[in-house]
């Protein structure tokens, strides 16, 4: 029986260490928001580190796709959710057991935890055998679970647990309280008195009666009298309670490591699918991308910014999807056009799609072919750093320099509005130099800029512009389309934004 991980096909791959932190570009691409939303409510699994580890191997990505598709297409997802919920309940019972001071209580909580565990394993083995997964990962795990559930150690644990639970549930005793005297004995078949009272007064019934609800101190801890009573009940049933004691001593580590690891790791898939299900319910599509390193011809149809979509759906807003594609020698998408038109969102979408694909996840859109990058870099405008004595322009240049130093031909760069803090002339000159370096490295790049000239440098650049409604340039469509940059709409929109169009000025002056 060897099975190690549902996330990493090669057992040689390292299991992530817990201290892993988010990559630099997470904030710029709003991936931090996406991962926060995905992992919300699942902190106990510490899933984030899994999302910080892009895969470098197309085969590993396919392996995850298979598992994701299995879960997506079969009742398995619900089965796994139920499994996770019971495992959680089991852990809660164990925690409760740890908190108890009374031995009889401690032991019972422990027994109940083990009972849940037995059910959970049996159920999982059954569910997996019925569901017919196709993925290599789940097939291997199914094999493991089937063997484990049939093993001697597990079946013996199962039988002892059930026997003890049944014995304990069958105990029926009575407590006689008279003044300060309390007596405990076996139940002797005394009839239920409350029902006699009910029957007597039944003749007055006038329809449904109001239920009286009472306040009880609902502590899981027994009070002193209850403790003494249960101790006496244990004396009435010495065999059962000594069996319980022995059971607890012998089964301290009843949980199987592989099952526990699976419970955590499978949540990577569950969390992602749960999150995307919410987005899909709003009518948006996801697809399993083709992820390749052999070609830089990337393409996406109807992609969108997952972070923005999540926020918009919550507010009931409309999500605009965009396409992109690069063919032959095209490498750089230069995005220009009116402000507030969705340019930055487009750039983020490009980055998000590639990153999510590298995790082995389905990505926003109806169709996608994406590049398997080795490193992803972003350069977004930053707040001026006062501690740093460098000026903003200098800062820009330093950061770009660092990126280009580390980038390989297999890297991706997303740049958003650089060189804003200098004259247009300088900005154009500097941008050209940077563009030359990027092209020299043959990097894939999205570059949001107000400098039209960049859009038509050579055959490696592709121009895309944010668009407006033709009749009303103040209305954005948030569509980014492949089109030569003309710079005109942009100027008009700026003018509008500052209320400086012909009619607006007349209006303002007139009033």
């Amino acid at each position: 029986m060897t099975f190690r991980s549902i996330l990493f096909p090669n057992t040689g791959d390292c299991i992530p260490n817990e201290g892993l932190s988010a990559p630099d570009f997470f904030f710029d691409l709003n991936l931090d928001q996406i991962i926060d939303a995905i992992t919300a409510g699942k902190t106990e699994y510490d899933l984030k580190s899994f999302f910080y580890m892009p895969l470098q191997d197309a085969e590993a990505i396919t392996w995850r796709h298979e598992i994701m598709q299995d879960l997506d297409a079969t009742p398995l997802l619900d089965n796994i959710k139920a499994f996770a919920q019971r495992m959680r309940a089991m852990r809660e019972h164990l925690a409760q057991s740890g908190k108890m001071s009374c031995k009889l209580q401690k032991e019972r909580w422990f027994l109940d935890a083990a009972d849940i565990y037995c059910d959970v394993v049996t159920r999982l083995a059954h569910d997996l055998s019925v569901a017919e997964p196709r993925s290599r990962g789940l097939l291997a795990f199914r094999k493991y679970v089937t063997l484990y559930a049939g093993s001697d150690s597990f079946t013996s644990l199962f039988q002892r647990t059930k026997k003890l639970i049944a014995d304990l549930s069958a105990i029926h005793y009575t407590v006689l309280m008279n003044g300060l005297r309390v007596e405990v004995r076996h139940y002797g078949g005394e009839p239920d008195y409350a029902s006699e009272v009910t029957a007597t007064f039944e003749i007055f019934r006038q329809g449904a009666a109001k239920e009286y609800s009472f306040n009880f101190i609902d502590s899981p801890q027994m009070n002193s009298v209850e403790e003494r009573i249960v101790a006496l009940v244990a004396l009435l049933h010495p065999d059962i309670f000594s069996a319980l004691e022995q059971y607890c001593a012998e089964n301290k580590d009843f949980q199987d490591r592989t099952i526990v690891t699976f419970d955590r790791e499978i949540q990577f898939y569950v969390a992602y699918l749960e999150h995307t299900a919410r987005v899909r319910n709003a009518g948006l599509k996801f697809c399993y991308p083709r992820v390749i390193r052999a070609s830089k011809e990337v393409r996406s149809v109807q992609g969108f910014d997952l972070a923005l979509a999540n926020n918009l759906i919550a507010e009931g807003g409309n999500v605009v999807c965009n396409d992109f594609h690069l063919k032959d020698g095209e490498r750089i998408i230069v995005v220009s056009g009116p402000n507030q038109g969705g340019k930055t969102t487009f750039a983020r979408t490009f980055g998000q799609l590639h990153y999510l694909a590298s995790l082995g996840c389905p990505v926003p859109g109806t169709h996608a072919q994406l590049f398997l990058f080795d490193r992803l870099f972003t350069h977004f405008e930053k707040e001026e750093n006062l501690k740093d004595l460098r000026g903003k322009l200098q800062d820009d240049l330093v950061r770009i320099h660092q990126i280009l130093e580390r980038a390989t031909p297999n890297s991706i760069i997303v740049m958003n509005e650089v060189f804003m803090s200098t004259t247009l002339r300088d900005a154009v000159a500097l941008s050209r130099k940077i563009a030359d370096k990027i092209m020299a490295l043959d990097l894939l790049c999205v570059w949001v800029t107000f400098i039209d000239e960049l859009a038509s440098l050579n055959e490696k650049t592709v121009s895309m512009v944010s668009t407006v409604v033709p009749e009303n340039p103040a209305l954005r469509t948030f569509k980014i389309v492949r089109r030569p940059a003309d710079g005109l709409a942009y100027a008009m929109c700026i003018a509008e934004k500052h209320r400086l169009t012909y009619s607006m000025i007349k209006e303002r002056i007139g009033s």
Binding site: R108, T174, M177, A209
Partner: protein, 537 residues
Amino acid sequence: MKARLLYQDQDMDLKSPLPWNAEALVKDLELDTLFHAMARSDDFVREVTRRVVLSGAENDVETIRYRRGVLRDCLNHPGVVRDLYAVAAEAAEHEKKIFFGNTLMRYPDWVLRRSIDLSEMFLVTIKKLRKIVELHADKFSSEGWTAFFATLQEELTDEYLVRAHDHVKQLKFRSGMLLGAGLGKGNMGTRYALHIPPRTSRGKWEWLKSFVPEWLKRLLPQRPPVLGFSLHPRDESGARALRELENRGIAGVANTLAQSTDNIRGFFDKLRSELAFYVGCVNLHEQLSRKGEPICLPLPVAVDKRRLSFRGLYDVCLALSVDRRVVGNTANADEQNVVIVTGANQGGKSTFLRSVGLAQLMMQCGMFVAAESFRSSVYGGIFTHFKREEDAAMKSGKLDEEIGRMSAIVDHLTSNSMVLFNEPFASTNEREGSEIARQILLSLSDLGVKVICVTHLYELARGLHERNTGNVLFLRADRHADGTRTFRIVEGEPLETSFGEDLYESIFGAGSDQCATTDPVVHASAPKAVTLQRGGD
């Protein structure tokens, strides 16, 4: 055990919504005068009669006959009815004497103690109730009463009362409390059930055991082991814990007994409500018979016949507010769907219309009727469309307001309804008003709705009269030749004048004191002379 004096097979629901037009009925038929007379000064009786009368249109013929029987017994034995009502009212007061507030009601021991006290009080009241039943049951003959008394005698036997009493005593746990339980989460006691503690029989045969050899003892059935402990008298937290446990043990029975007392209280509440209606009838009956006004038990018939005929019908509210006898009217509209009332101003048309509405409502709720005889169908809805004062809120013009009200009535109308119109659409000119009214009346008539309409719209009345195929009955307010009113409504075709000049004279000219003083019968319309003048001409 149910009172069932209002319905054969159904409880009275004091919380069900009143018909949507309840307010209009009260206003148009001046029902407050009726309720006041029925209640005397008992607000509870007022509330109940108001509800029963206003929801009268919901009853079927069977229910009305059932109540009529109960009512007949009540009118014959008013003293017994009032005694029973007093007992029921007393029961309703018990709870007020022991109220702990909601905080304590969260603890089973408090709830149980309160329920025990209440049960004991209720048992006393129940004995009083039974006493009355024993003394008077044989004098009542109606289905409702005999069934009620029979149930009481069957259910509340001596044996039963002793048993109930024993339970109440047992629940004081004088000889300790025995709880059954199992082990639940974390081995805590759960599923607590209450049992009766065994009588202590320990030791009876114990001495015999000393003669039995040890080896044999092991084979004999063993006395079940008893394990126990005693709390130290100063162990306060132990005592609290014990009380907590006791509370868990009695929670079920506290709930049960509290529900039982709620039920007993509910029984008395219902009895009180149902009796309140009949007490109201008895009160009204006494006032009318003191004046010598006739009453009758009406004859309800199924709605498919659309019957309406009466003799000596008078406005009960008017009779209650004046000292002298009032005029009664006689008519037969069994064959006509529409009754048009025209004639002299101040001639008693509105009073007549009200008397029909009142009698119809009273019959449908099972009361007697202010008439020598009254026979009518049981209508599924009784609606009034009376001329109103100016719209207080000034939201809409007068015609708008009228048409709006009419439209609301049509929203709720079925063909099994009765609609009473008092001078509809007089707020526009005669031609328009007539045409609107004509279309409404004809459509209602064709639907089979029973319509009684007082109108000054001569064009309307004349038009209906000319084309009458026998489906319209024309009544007219009578008038002596000298202009004085008889306040009688008689059959007669519409006239072009409403004799408004008579009224003018009565106010401005010499005829006025003649009108008020020479007539032997007082009429409620007289004080309204000024308001009528506006609408009349």
